[in-house]
């Protein structure tokens, strides 16, 4: 294969490419969901797949999310590898019973005889001016469901690499796609075939010594921006992109926090009962004697996702992150 120039691509394009490559490699891979065929999905992430692979491989289903996921279970039982699209975060809720009671448990139920290699793509999160039900951060539900992997990319390259890994996984993966990063661009080489990114490894996106920001998905760029802004205040922040909420990369996270002694967890999802509680608790359990301050959380408020005109007040932004960093007890107090 000849060398190909590294060209800018959007996260949406990288996701499309990941499905395309997976479908080309493995005839067992089937894409299904509402509007994924002819239309190419409301975010165009499945654009071209029906054309290239036919409607039997990329299928417009009837409008019923439990039915979509439930039939995907049956297809996986027969050896296919369904890649299911839930049109928006909130529209995955009708499929929760199938997800919790079957998708996450079938392997366990059958002592490994019947694994379900299903990838469930869920565009999630806010910041796109969506009306009600189009901006939920539902990762807490998935994290609390043993048997699921929960993965979310923050870069174009990870979008490709992690989606390839998800589709290749013999376990069900809830693949959370940050809606507002769909159109984010990055230099990324779409011809490079080896950049499958193993699931379960966090990555340090920015090294720093003062404190660690632990985050994922849509909040990664916000944290990187905050880290830049923090230099003015004299803080050198490390930013860890979790990439995978389940399995959780305790090693990378703990190593970072042991080094910096201070941590803030940042996510869009509501704080109470959200992922940050788990993350902060884990860090504290593992790094207690290295902590100069309690692990703090910057999260969405504990409210239903607000209407578009108010969402900026809800979303964790640079200021709120810096405020939290400022509260990390830089001068010892008690």
């Amino acid at each position: 294969m000849t060398t190909v120039a590294v060209k800018p691509a959007t996260m949406a394009q990288a996701l499309t490419r990941a499905m395309r490559d997976a479908m080309a490699e493995d005839p067992a891979v089937h894409v299904m969901g509402e509007d994924v065929g002819t239309l190419g999905g409301v975010f165009r992430v499945t654009d071209g797949l029906a054309k290239e692979f036919g409607e039997d491989r990329c299928t417009d289903t009837p409008l019923a999310e439990a039915g979509i996921l439930g039939t995907a279970v049956g297809m996986a039982m027969y050896g296919l590898r369904p890649v299911v699209e839930m049109q928006f975060d909130a529209f995955a809720y009708p499929a929760f019973e199938q997800l919790i009671s079957h998708v996450s448990r079938m392997r366990n139920r059958t002592r490994g005889a019947m694994p379900l290699p299903i990838t469930i793509r869920v565009p999630y999160g806010g910041g796109i001016g969506g009306v009600e039900h189009h901006s939920d951060s539902s990762e807490a539900y998935y994290m609390a469901t043993p048997g699921l992997h929960v993965v979310t990319p923050a870069t174009v390259a990870d979008a490709y690499g992690l989606l390839r890994a998800a589709i290749a996984s013999d376990d069900p993966v809830v693949f959370l796609e940050p809606k507002r990063l769909y159109w984010s661009k990055d230099s990324w080489n779409p011809e490079h075939p080896t950049d499958v990114e193993p699931i379960g490894r966090a990555v340090v996106r920015r090294s720093g010594r003062s404190a660690t920001l632990i985050t994922y998905g849509p909040s990664v760029p916000v944290c990187l921006e905050a880290a830049e802004a923090a230099r003015e205040e004299g803080w050198d922040l490390e930013v860890v992109d979790l990439r995978s909420l389940v399995p959780f990369d305790d090693e990378t996270v703990s190593a970072s926090v042991r080094r910096t002694g201070r941590a803030v967890v940042v996510h869009e999802s509501g704080g109470f009962g959200g992922p940050g509680g788990e993350i902060a608790a884990r860090i504290t359990e593992r790094c207690f004697h290295h902590l100069e301050a309690p692990v703090l959380r910057v999260a969405g408020f504990d409210i239903p996702y607000p209407p578009p005109m108010l969402e900026r007040h809800h979303l964790p932004g640079v200021d709120r992150i810096l405020d939290a960093v400022g509260r990390l007890q830089w001068e010892a107090e008690s």
Binding site: E34, D35, G37, T38, L39, G40, V42, D60, T61, P62, L63, A64, E65, A66, G67, A90, F91, Y93, P94, G129, G130, V131, E132, H133, H134, A229, F272, F301, D302, I303, P304, P306, P307, P308, M309, L310, H313, H314, V318, D319, R320, L322, D323
Partner: protein, 378 residues
């Protein structure tokens, strides 16, 4: 005697000798969608009603155009148009009494407006300043419902509650052809039939669920055929014939009010515009299909009938257009004003009383806003 006891047992203990509860034949829809305009039935239609429908259709068309224009000006986040479907929207509103309830889907702002709701309030969701811009109790219009088919059980529950309280209130629930595939559709219709709740289900079959044509949504002879499986009558109606939709809905409402139980109505219509302003309909359908349906336009059909019968002249048309323009001008003007928003509203109605946790967050936002207004924040 309780409502439950009134029901008459179906086969509480199915005997070896089988007895179906009822003859299914009357529950099945006719082979042809019911039509009034251009048929003999039109002669029986009340001229006043037809004129009223006409004025509302014209106003509705204008409303759709204006709302779509507002999306282009950035005044609405998104708008799902009902151009081509005005007959269903308007008839749904007019078939109800004041005390009845309307349960619209996300597409049905026009039905809410035709029922008397202020268009600005009806559009608040789509403008993005609040989820529901009106008090549902004021006009008995439930919040515009985005998760498809989830409003149907609400309508059933409300109708059932009204009946339990002895009120002769009917609930009319609207849903799309795509929404009929959801489990909630099934559960709602079943509860309604078992409870004999006074509820009318109106499915607007406009040919598509976003890009997905009906052929990929169902293999049924018609969506109205689903009714027999619940033990309620199914009716098929030409959804672009305002007089027919109004008649079929009114009959069903009357039937429900009289204690006859629910009805499922499928109105065959067509979505002339794209799914929303954000959609590109050329990706999944051709112009010729749209053109065919333009030839079956609800306004043109009614206008033709009224004109033929001498019930509408140029002055009458102009009056309808003028009223529509006035509505549009008012809507435009008011939608061009920025809504006044208080970010503290984020916390105002999560619970009757904010939890201690929300009070802390409230204080945090308050402090941030104060700092921001003092210009002291980073």
């Amino acid at each position: 005697m309780t409502v439950m006891e009134q029901r008459g047992a179906y086969r509480p203990s199915p005997p070896p000798a089988w007895q179906p509860r009822m003859d299914p034949a009357p529950l099945l829809p006719d082979a042809e969608p019911y039509r009034v305009l251009g048929t003999e039935a039109a002669a029986k239609a009340d001229p006043g009603l037809l004129r009223r429908l006409y004025a509302e259709l014209v106003r509705g068309r204008r409303y759709n155009a204006q709302a779509t224009a507002l999306t282009k000006q950035g005044r609405l986040a998104v708008y799902p148009s009902t151009t081509g479907q005005e007959a269903c929207e308007v008839a749904a509103a007019l078939a109800l009494q004041d005390r009845d309830w309307l349960f619209p889907s996300y597409r049905d702002t026009l039905a809410a407006v035709a029922r008397g709701l202020d268009p600005v309030q009806a559009l608040t969701l789509l403008r993005g300043d609040w989820h529901t811009g009106y008090d549902p109790r004021e006009h008995r219009v439930a919040p515009l419902c985005t998760p498809l088919a989830t409003q149907l059980p609400h309508a059933v529950g409300l109708a059932h509650a009204a009946r339990l309280k002895g009120d002769d209130v009917v609930a009319l629930a609207m849903v799309g052809d795509g929404g009929s595939s959801e489990g909630d559709f099934h559960e709602a219709l079943n509860f309604a039939a078992v409870w004999q709740a006074p509820v009318v289900f109106l499915v607007q079959n406009n040919g598509f669920a976003i890009s997905v044509p009906l052929a990929k949504q169902t293999a049924a002879p018609s969506l109205a055929h689903k009714a027999v499986g619940y033990g309620m009558p199914g009716r098929l109606v030409d959804g672009n014939d305002a007089a027919a939709v109004h008649e079929v809905l009114s009959d069903a409402v009357r039937h429900a009010r009289a204690g006859g139980g629910p009805t499922l109505i499928e109105a065959i219509t067509y979505r002339i515009d794209a799914h929303t302003n954000a959609d590109d309909a050329t990706r999944y359908r051709g112009d010729s299909e749209v053109e065919t349906w333009r030839g079956h336009d609800p306004i043109a059909l009614l206008e033709h009938e009224l004109t033929e019968r001498g019930l509408l002249d140029e002055a009458g048309k102009q009056a309808a257009r003028d009223a529509a323009e006035a509505m549009a001008a008012d809507l435009r003007e008011r939608m061009n004003q920025d809504p006044v928003l208080d970010p503290m509203d984020l916390f105002a109605h999560v619970y009757a009383e904010p939890t201690p946790q929300l009070r802390e967050q409230q204080a945090q936002l308050r402090a941030e806003l104060d700092a921001e207004s003092e210009g002291s924040h980073r």
